[in-house]
């Protein structure tokens, strides 16, 4: 039992940190641009797919970790400038539009990457003993990388000029414009940043779950739930919620059948939405 619990807790934290990155990306995009990006799961998937291609060509996972998010960031740039800019102020329209974009991205990957799942070799093989089970070392590394990325995000938002602009625009858009902040550029770069974070998650998750064109679909809903329950616009809320939900699901799965755990956690989400729609940590 002890080993079960230990594995569940460790695993819950690892997944929580991976989901936190996705949720952070979604939250940034929503908190600032008020865009509900239904294509976010597809961006996560693209991160994984691009990393697969990089590894196919170079065999280097660390290179993929660097290149893939950048490539997806470019796609995010194109999406924001080309498609979303004109409808950014209409939330319902953007939901539907990004749903369409999700379909297109998924099908493009299906056409060129194919329908069969592919695997990425663990860049760091090896395990360490955890009671009478063994736990893969790579997952700890992934968790550490996720924390590092979050640290980078914090640094960006709190210690750089762009970060200052982002926070200013969130707080008071009119004032920011009056102060001469290039609001449109901030919007654009925030969307790019959100896309990059989603892609990062994809690259980190890829060695664990394998790469396939549908991998973003279930992740998407989970990400939304985390953002809303944690509080839209509240970045720390997302991180904490992601880890807590993962822990609950992981530990819960020890005791009940997974689909029951899923239904109960969904029910819990509904409760939070009804009782505290601004999220557990929202104001």
């Amino acid at each position: 039992m002890a080993s079960n619990l230990a594995v569940a807790v460790l695993n819950g934290i690892v997944w929580g940190l991976i989901m936190a990155l996705i949720a952070l990306g979604l939250n940034l995009i929503f908190g600032l641009l008020h865009i509900i990006n239904m294509a976010h799961g597809a961006l996560y998937m693209l991160g994984a797919v691009f990393s697969w291609y990089v590894i196919e060509l170079t065999g280097n996972y660390w290179l993929a970790l660097f290149v893939a998010p950048l490539a997806v960031g470019l796609i995010g740039l194109a999406l924001e400038r080309g498609l979303l800019r004109t409808i950014e102020d209409q939330p319902l329209v953007t939901i539907i539009c990004t749903f369409g974009i999700m379909l297109v991205l998924q099908q493009l990957v299906l056409t060129y990457f194919g329908g069969t799942a592919r695997r990425i070799a663990l860049p760091i093989p090896g395990r360490f003993p955890l009671f009478d089970l063994q736990y893969p070392l790579m997952r700890i590394v992934i968790a550490a990388i996720s924390v590092a990325v979050m640290g980078g995000l914090w640094f960006f938002l709190n210690r750089t000029r762009y970060g200052l602009w982002v926070r200013a625009v969130v707080q008071d858009r009119e004032m920011a414009v009056a102060l001469g902040i290039p609001v449109h550029k901030v919007y654009m770069w925030t969307f790019v940043l959100g896309s990059v974070l989603a892609a990062f998650s994809g690259v980190l998750a890829a060695p664990i779950v394998s790469v396939d064109f549908m991998m973003g679909r279930e992740i998407l809903i989970m990400a939304f739930i985390i953002v809303i329950v944690g509080g839209m616009g509240n970045l720390w809320g997302s991180v904490v919620t992601a880890v807590v939900i993962s822990l609950i699901h992981g530990v819960g799965s020890i005791f009940v059948v997974p689909s029951t755990a899923t239904v109960f956690s969904l029910g819990f989400m509904i409760l939070v939405l009804l009782v505290r729609p601004q999220g557990l940590f929202g104001e």
């Binding site: 509900i36 409808i87 539907i96 493009l108 809303i228 969904l266």
Partner: protein, 316 residues
């Protein structure tokens, strides 16, 4: 201008003509086209029920698949396991989803915007999770196959194995539903829905119990989505938990947006157009969803009011 007259006194004539043409189809079109049109009609019904809550009341729900799928099972399970008749099944396909819609709606209408979207998706997710695991009842993702007994109308027995008869049945049901919805949206009730869509706060200040009206729209839409699902499973003689997945709601969204939200006619045109497009494309391109997604995005960016909205706008 036709589409304006559609609203006025010329509507009965135009509608009657359209019905005459559709009724004549089995006389000059083959069996395949009859089944294809049957399918289009079913999805058109699903789309117009979505239009009621989205186009007219302004509620974006991605969870209508829950009611569609429930409607399908409301026919399949009683017919297969309880030996009920097809007529009873169809009635249940309206009633059961409507009850669920009342439950889901009761909680959901307290929320707005993205929260409403998410909560409807969550309810649909719960539905599809339960549907996929409760295999003894639902057959899970593999689904249930059933033989539809003849529909007993008292004066006649309709053999639903006959494609032509199924086509007429679906045509009649969908046409009646369309007329019903049209009547509703043009009535004072419909105007309240639109008022809520335009400015919820103002509607509340005028004195309308906004939540109750939203719930009403939601329940009606749920019942009609269920009816569409019931007709669908009847025409396929098959129901599956995959009908409950929230992505199925996407069909209604796409057809409505492309055809034109808030017009009732729009979703019907959207359904016919997109499904025909897919039918012809499938020989060239396996990934038809690619084109559908592209059409959706293009519509939103270039003609956000959809085909019907665009045509009406152009006349100015």
């Amino acid at each position: 201008m036709l589409l304006d007259r559609w609203k006025g006194g010329a509507f009965p004539l135009a509608f009657g003509l359209l019905m005459a043409v559709l009724a004549a189809v089995p006389f000059f079109a083959g069996l395949f086209y009859q089944t294809f049109l049957t399918e289009i009609l079913v999805w058109a019904l699903f789309a117009i029920s979505f239009d009621l809550i989205f186009g007219y009341t302004g509620l974006l729900s991605f969870g209508q698949a829950l009611f569609f799928g429930l409607g399908g099972y409301a026919v399949a399970i009683p017919v297969l396991k309880l030996g009920l008749g097809t007529g009873a099944g169809l009635l249940l396909s309206v009633a059961v989803p409507a009850v669920f819609a009342a439950f889901v709606g009761f909680f959901s209408v307290r929320l707005t915007g993205i929260h409403f979207v998410i909560i409807t998706i969550i309810f649909a997710l719960i539905g599809s999770t339960v549907g996929e695991t409760w295999t003894s009842l639902t057959g899970g993702a593999d689904g249930l196959v059933f033989m539809a007994p003849p529909l007993d109308l008292g004066v006649a027995k309709l053999d639903l194995m006959d494609i032509r008869i199924t086509y007429y049945l679906v045509l009649a049901v969908v046409a009646l539903s369309f007329l019903f919805l049209r009547r509703m949206v043009r009535s004072p009730l419909g105007k309240v829905f639109v008022a809520i869509r335009e400015n919820e706060e103002r509607a509340r200040l005028i004195g309308y119990d906004v939540r109750r009206y939203k719930l009403l729209a939601f329940v009606i839409a749920g019942g009609l989505s269920g009816l569409a699902g019931g007709l669908y499973s009847l025409s396929l003689k098959y129901a599956s938990a995959t009908f409950l997945h929230w992505s199925v709601s996407g069909h209604a969204v796409v057809y409505t947006i492309v055809g034109g939200a808030g017009t009732l006619l729009g979703p019907v045109i959207g359904a016919g157009l997109i499904m025909s497009l897919e039918h012809y494309l499938v020989k060239l391109l396996q990934a038809t969803d690619l084109v559908v997604g592209a059409v959706l995005v293009s519509t939103l960016l270039l003609a956000p009011r959809g085909i019907v909205g665009f045509l009406r706008g152009r006349r100015k």
